[in-house]
């Protein structure tokens, strides 16, 4: 054993190169061989790094994994992990960039709908793990009546995502997870775009199709646009019922009337 060696930070940076970039040049000299090549010892850690994170991605993207099969998924996951290793110890948050990665992933190009299935799965994952939040209460609702609609902005429940796709990805997602081949084959991929709302409800996750105009209004409201401005963009559509539905289903957790900070 040597009394003098590299500093801890230097070893840890060298381990990062080993695990993520598969470069052992800065680490191997510091490892005791003891009958086994240091590279093979490091392989044990490399395997864990790749397999734990691949499993984390598989948990968040189960329909994508089934659509492409194990070998394809693992291959894609390994390339993704090397380019985007986790930035946080909270693995529920890992993999937000996987749909965008699939957009540019050559071998997946023949499955044009795959990145949007992944976007839907990420929204479901977000809905599952989002913080709890208390929906607007009666007192806040009464105050709404006196508020200036030009300033009034809603704060959406953190579990809500809004997704638009050129493909019926909700039908694909359901059929794949139900392992319902008949339903999968019956899907017409050219049936036109879908507008989806994803949220956590008392009994689980709700993935719901919405028409285009209410979806757009919901996007505007959930992104913090003041009510009047959001409504002004709507043409042939009566928003009162939609607003009432959102409020009744607890989709807003707060309402603000302070001027928008720019």
């Amino acid at each position: 054993m040597h009394a003098i060696g590299p500093e801890l930070l230097e070893v840890q940076r060298a381990m990062r190169e080993s695990l993520v970039e598969h470069r052992d040049d800065n680490l191997r000299a510091h490892i005791v061989a003891d009958g086994l090549d240091p590279a093979e010892r490091l392989d044990v850690y490399r395997n864990t790094f790749a397999s734990v994170l691949t499993n984390a991605l598989r948990l968040s993207y189960p329909a994508v994994a089934r659509l492409v099969g194990d070998d394809f998924f693992e291959g894609a996951a390994r390339i993704f992990i090397a380019g985007e290793p986790p930035r946080s110890a909270c693995l529920d948050d890992y993999g937000a960039a996987f749909p965008a990665f699939l957009d540019d992933f050559g071998p997946a190009r023949s499955l044009a709908y795959l990145p949007d299935v992944a976007r839907l799965e990420w929204a479901v994952n977000r809905a599952l793990h989002a913080e709890d939040a208390t929906s607007l209460n009666g007192e806040q609702l009464i105050r709404l009546a006196d508020s200036d609609g030009a300033l009034m902005r809603f704060v959406p429940h953190p579990s809500i995502s809004l997704i638009r796709s050129n493909y019926p990805v909700d039908a694909v997602w359901r059929a794949v997870l139900d392992q319902d081949d008949a339903a999968l084959h019956a899907i017409d991929l050219r049936s036109g775009p879908v507008w989806l709302l994803v949220e956590r409800i008392e009994t689980g996750i709700n993935v719901q199709r919405v028409s285009e105009a209410p979806w757009r209004l919901t996007v505007a409201l959930c992104s913090g646009q003041p009510l009047h401005g959001a409504l002004g963009e709507q043409a042939d559509f009566e928003p009162a019922a939609l607003l009432a539905d959102h409020i009744a289903k607890g989709r807003f957790v707060d309402v603000r009337t302070d001027p928008l900070r720019t």
Binding site: M1, I4, L8, Q12, V32, G35, P38, V44, Y45, F49
Partner: protein, 248 residues
């Protein structure tokens, strides 16, 4: 920490059972120090669930903002010892309680290590006042992989520092040179040699809450119950010398 059904189930379980909160992501051995965001999550979980025990590993898993989702081995040097003690102290201050630090399993050693692992973890406990979560499968796996004396490992640990024991199964991988590498995979029954260590540990440490870890290829409930029964039997059959009343 996140919301939804999982923490609510844990709330319900907590009403009837004590909970051991076991971390894998704090990276107590990071030269960079602890991640304040993750520390906040852990603190929120501790405040919400009020666990009986809180533990983390003597290892590291993050550098420069990248997290590796694994328990990586530390060079066992004075510098690393100081870094771990600093991080453990910061954690115990933030949580306002004593934590347990668990010995890891490892598959490599660094040439510049100067402190045997058993002395290293004993010193962490002595300097920070933290307890030790003694994972006997990890003691066995690392001892076999590196030729350490497992009984000497246990002898170096102060009985009053031991707050929890882990047992688990491991796999044995043959190497090209005819030797083997033990891998801690939590995927099988506890090995006979680890049961023997359990009797040894019980005689040294006295009765300590014991957890059997089995999270790969999880078997039928009856198999898990047999393993738990075996641990209870060893506790029943082994006499112990130390006085647990001294334990903090």
């Amino acid at each position: 920490m996140g919301g939804g059904s999982a923490p609510r189930y844990l709330d319900a379980i907590r009403r009837d059972y004590p909970i051991s909160l076991h971390g894998v992501g704090l990276s107590l051995g990071s030269a960079d120090g602890l991640d304040p965001v993750h520390m906040k999550r852990v603190r929120a979980a501790v405040e919400r669930f009020e666990p009986a025990l809180v533990s983390e590993h003597l290892s590291w898993s993050a550098v420069g903002g990248t997290y590796f989702a694994d328990l990586l081995p530390l060079p066992l040097t004075q510098e690393a010892l100081d870094a771990v003690c600093r991080n453990v102290e910061e954690l115990q201050t933030a949580l306002r309680r004593r934590v347990l630090v668990e010995n890891p399993s490892s598959y490599l050693q660094y040439r510049h290590s100067t402190i045997p692992e058993w002395e290293f973890i004993a010193q962490v406990a002595r300097r920070t006042g933290c307890g030790i979560l003694c994972d006997l499968n990890n003691v066995y796996v690392s001892a076999r992989n590196h030729g350490w004396p497992a009984s000497r490992y246990l002898a170096a640990l102060a009985p009053e520092a031991i707050g929890e024991i882990h047992l688990a199964g491991h796999s044995v991988r043959p190497l090209p040179n005819g030797r083997t590498l033990c891998i801690d995979d939590h995927g099988s029954r506890v090995a006979p040699e680890v049961w023997a260590l359990y009797a040894d540990a019980f005689a040294r440490f006295g009765p300590v809450p014991t957890l059997i870890e089995w999270d790969t290829d999880v078997p039928a409930m009856s198999v898990l119950m047999e393993e738990a029964e075996r641990a209870a039997q060893i506790m029943h059959d082994t006499s112990y010398a130390c006085d647990r009343a001294r334990a903090a």
